[in-house]
Amino acid sequence: MSDRIQDRGPLIPRNRAAHPPAYDIDYKTSVPRSPRWSLLSLESGPSEETGPTFGHEILGEWDNNLIMNWTRGKAPAVGERILVHGRVLDENARPVPHTLVEIWQANAGGRYRHKKDTYFAPLDPNFGGCGRTITDENGYYEFLTIRPGAYPWPNRGNDWRPMHIHFSIFGHAFGQRLISQMYFEGDPLIYRCPIAATIKDRGQLDTLVAPLDMAKARPMDFLAYKFDIVLRGRRQTMFENKLEGM
């Protein structure tokens, strides 16, 4: 268990307005899969304030390089080479170090390597589509990958997912667990997508759009996109250790 000051105190209650509501009629699958009754809100306790931790021993040599990891360095994936990088922070604007970040994505043609994906865009024999890394002491992470293609999906008559990378982040507490998606600056499909549009606050949706970052792009090699992630924080006041009501 961590002794860091930011790992004490209860989790800051989730600001639900920052997130999509469970039910959204334009995202049809959410209709039967959204709870109707209210969530039960409680202050966090040990079950939410602790969580699994993962060390570098779980990582393989190629895990954060999606261009090469499926073939273990033998042959590169097809696509536009990009670096995706950023920091994991908490609501108190502090870095979240040593936390696992997992990503998955479609290949350059918009096809996933999954037994249930039947889109006729071809699989790339050199692309698996998943990667993972652990943030450094400053909460920083990097992936090398290819720009995923947009793809059509069955929802309304002609819906397309914008180019996106799925992100899964742990933080240091099970109550911080988050899955989200990163979009790409300038993609006209973002604001036509019913899944992106489940986020009702435009400013919040914009936080999922990674800007082109030429300062990290390597000439004659790859472009770069920056994507920072904010997890729930923990309340830190000098009164946290006082007895209830004191």
Binding site: M1, P10, L11, N15, A18, H19, P20, P21, A22, Y27, T29, S30, V31, P32, R33, S34, P35, R36, W37, L39, L40, L42, G45, P46, S47, E48, P52, F54, G60, N69, W70, L89, D90, E91, N92, W104, R113, H114, K115, K116, C130, R132, H166, S168, F174, G175, R177, L178, I179, S180, I195, T198, D201, Q204, L205, T207, L208, I229, V230, R232
Partner: protein, 199 residues
């Protein structure tokens, strides 16, 4: 105008989608070998102390259909109520598991040890429970819930007692079907909708 807060807003959630397994459970997605080591394969190693139990169930939508693409994660303490990393915790208990609805039948199975009771910040003892987080296509933000056990004393648990409609408490309680075997369904919507948590 007022001063500017120096806090940040949490990154908004987006659905895990139908292909969450690619990133989280590659073998399930049909991509065995994507990682040398997948995380969360079991919350216990051989030799974990306590009673080994098996919880089976389904994640059911508002029409009564069992999801085939749901993924779950569980987090729990060891049989003595200690979480991994705490002094004296059972080194054979990682406490963390990833499991999925079967893509043909929708059934899931969680094999673990029965957790011990844990004290809440208020000092009250909580009844033994496993925290569960459910994601899937159509779920816009991961759903938190808990598995309690019908053969434990749940009468003074602070969370269960906060549920005004006590007829809903049973949605959080696993039913014992045989020695070491329990069933627990997660109902996303409709009759017997599971109590989901904001915690």
């Amino acid at each position: 105008m007022v001063q500017k807060l120096d806090t940040l807003i949490e990154t908004p959630s987006q659905t895990a989608g139908p292909y969450v397994h690619i990133g989280c459970m590659p073998t399930y997605a049909g991509n065995a070998g994507a990682y040398d080591l997948e995380i969360g394969e079991s919350p216990i190693a051989d030799g974990a102390q306590g009673e080994v139990i098996e919880i089976t169930g389904e994640v059911i939508d508002g029409t009564g259909w069992a999801l085939r693409d749901a993924m779950m994660e569980s987090w729990q303490p060891d049989a003595a109520g200690k979480f991994p990393g705490q002094a004296g915790a059972d080194p054979k208990v990682s406490g963390y598991c990833r499991f999925a609805a079967d893509s043909e039948t929708g059934k899931f199975t969680l094999r673990t040890v029965k957790p011990g009771a844990v004290q809440a910040r208020s000092g009250a003892m909580q009844a033994p429970h496993i925290s569960v987080w459910v994601v899937a296509r159509g779920i816009n933000i991961g759903l938190q819930t808990r598995i309690y056990f019908e053969d434990e004393d749940n009468s003074t648990d602070p969370l269960l007692n906060r549920i005004e409609q006590q007829n809903r408490v049973q949605t959080l309680i696993a039913k014992k079907t045989a020695e070491g075997k329990y069933t627990f369904n997660i109902v996303l919507q409709g009759d017997n909708e599971t109590v989901f948590l904001d915690i």
